[in-house]
Symmetry: C2
Subunit: 339 residues, 2 copies
């Protein structure tokens, strides 16, 4: 009962090949014919069957998003961004969470690659740096774009932002508020972002010729609990910093919780800054000063690259660096006079 290309062809009194040409934007169609076909398609409310297009042609009109249990807010933003690009080009988004053992991941990916024939995959951290995933996709001939990858930047196209600069600017923000004794909570060494954010922090201090004491650096793992633990240690005793820069929001929330548990008011006694601008950043008290990552834009750019590449294999291979934004909220304030 569904309308097919044959129905449209009959209605427009042309062959199905001509309908196909018009609908795919191919050249060599007389303008008058083109309009007749479009009118017929519209009149019949025709929508091409994706399975048929995919089986006969080289495109599947499907983009995949592979992730591994990072924050749900991050995943949601990536999906929203990717979907906006997909919608604009008649594509659909297939998602897959890759949290199982590597052997299963490889099997599942192979299954997806060969049964679904995705036109491309978006890989978010930490999947974007998973050697097995990259190898499997390459073996299966599925193009992919990495979001904020850590190493091997020449291996495939990617999108990202300048984490080092963002951390530098956040540190400047704290320095401008008068803070001179600032603690830093690192992320896990495996994440490229951890290294870059710490580097930006260090550079800002050095530029003002401030020393960083070893006791002021905590080693977290991007989790709330690790932020709480590191901050608790940093805040022990009378010799406390006046500010803590946690290298992601989760840890910053942990640091605020640690301050609360010790009766330290934020930001009066202690300023806390985060990084990511997760939804939780404005759903806590006080609201968190943080770095807004262009997550939607990165995902949309990644999807656009893949869609362009599916149409013309030569295109869509230029990596892109997008802009971040420092969001000043209530968790940071002037350094206390005593400092």
């Amino acid at each position: 009962v569904a309308i097919t290309i044959t129905d449209v062809a009959e209605e427009a009194r042309v062959s199905i090949k001509t309908v196909s040409r018009v609908l795919n934007g191919e050249p060599n169609v007389r303008e008058e014919t083109r309009e007749r076909v479009l009118a017929a398609a519209r009149a019949l409310d025709y929508r091409p069957n994706l399975s048929a297009r995919s089986l006969a042609g080289t495109r599947s009109f499907l983009i995949g998003h592979f992730f591994d249990n990072p924050s749900s807010a991050y995943v949601a933003d990536i999906q929203e961004g990717a979907l906006s690009a997909c919608r604009a080009h008649g594509y659909h988004l297939v998602v897959e969470s890759l949290s199982s053992p590597l052997a299963e991941v490889e099997q599942r990916l192979n299954h997806i690659v060969s049964t679904l024939r995705l036109d491309g995959a978006i890989l978010t951290p930490p999947v974007c740096d998973n050697a097995v995933v990259l190898k499997t996709l390459e073996a299966g001939g599925t193009p992919y774009v990495r979001v904020a990858p850590a190493h091997d930047l020449d291996r495939a196209p990617w999108v990202g932002m300048d984490d080092e600069l963002a951390a530098f600017q956040m540190t400047e923000h704290l320095l401008d508020l008068g803070h001179r004794d600032i603690a830093f909570i690192k992320g896990p060494p495996a994440h490229a972002a951890s290294r870059l954010r710490y580097r930006g922090f260090e550079r800002a201090l050095k530029q003002r010729r401030l020393n960083l004491r070893a006791a002021r650096v905590g080693r977290g793992d991007f989790s709330f609990g690790s932020g709480f633990a590191c901050a608790a240690q940093i805040l022990t005793g009378e010799d406390r910093p006046s500010a803590i820069f946690a290298s992601n929001d989760e840890m910053a929330l942990g640091a605020i919780a640690a301050a609360h548990s010790r009766g330290l008011a934020v930001p009066d006694a202690l300023s806390v800054a985060g990084f990511d601008d997760t939804p939780a950043a404005e759903r806590t008290w006080p609201q968190l000063t943080t770095i807004h990552q262009p997550i939607l834009e990165m995902a949309a750019a990644a999807a656009e690259m893949l869609i362009a590449g599916a149409r013309e294999p030569a295109t869509g291979r230029a990596s892109r660096v997008l802009d971040f934004r420092l969001v000043g909220r209530a968790s940071t304030g002037p350094a206390p006079a005593s400092h």
Copy 2:
């Protein structure tokens, strides 16, 4: 270069029809033949092309998840649950966020329904109660399962939990801690859950013959900000309740923030309970006492129903009510002696 059913048929010295029979678990194949086909498929690492299966047959092996910007944690859990069922049956999950105006939603849904031919759709609140969405899917012949729907329960299969009972039990928990003056923050009237949770709260109070004062009921909208505002009002003045039951976690977090901002210790001066068990519930201080919803299980059940229905249209139509769990954490404690 990909392996096709013809390759497997040649390798096993049978017709492609027999290979098809074996792979689809159809009856009437001699055991010996069956094994020969399976061995050939395994040897060649054969994976059937989904587009071809979909074009020739009646199934697409695709399940959709349609949502509209609820909490990202909820969406992530739904996807995780649905994916586990999809993986077990060779299905894939297509996602679509439906946050645009209704006219666009209808158009987008029509596009998906007719180009993708989903075997089924999972609808989460509030999309599961969107008349346009239901109508469009029905018109397009796409089966769907609703998660925690509000009305029209006989219209289509659904999965859910007993919100009223859960709220009743949470209220009992507070009563057992000695609280006699408990405030409640409602959700938006449009959500069925809002009504049910409030009803459970009321029933528990009535059972103990406790009166509920009007000033003790706040009207929120499930957002952090509304929880903060309602709690701020409830906590104004000396005549305060000793506990607040917010009907979701977001509002409970808002209530805790409001308590903090007034210098009220939680739970020493004020107990706060939530509902949902979002990840944020254990990433705040103090950690939140709440109701754990069986989100993964609901999504998995919904996907299973759709997959079963795609195989045999008569099956998978029985709605299911799944179990919740009260999670006691640090935000609730004994009522202060003064109360």
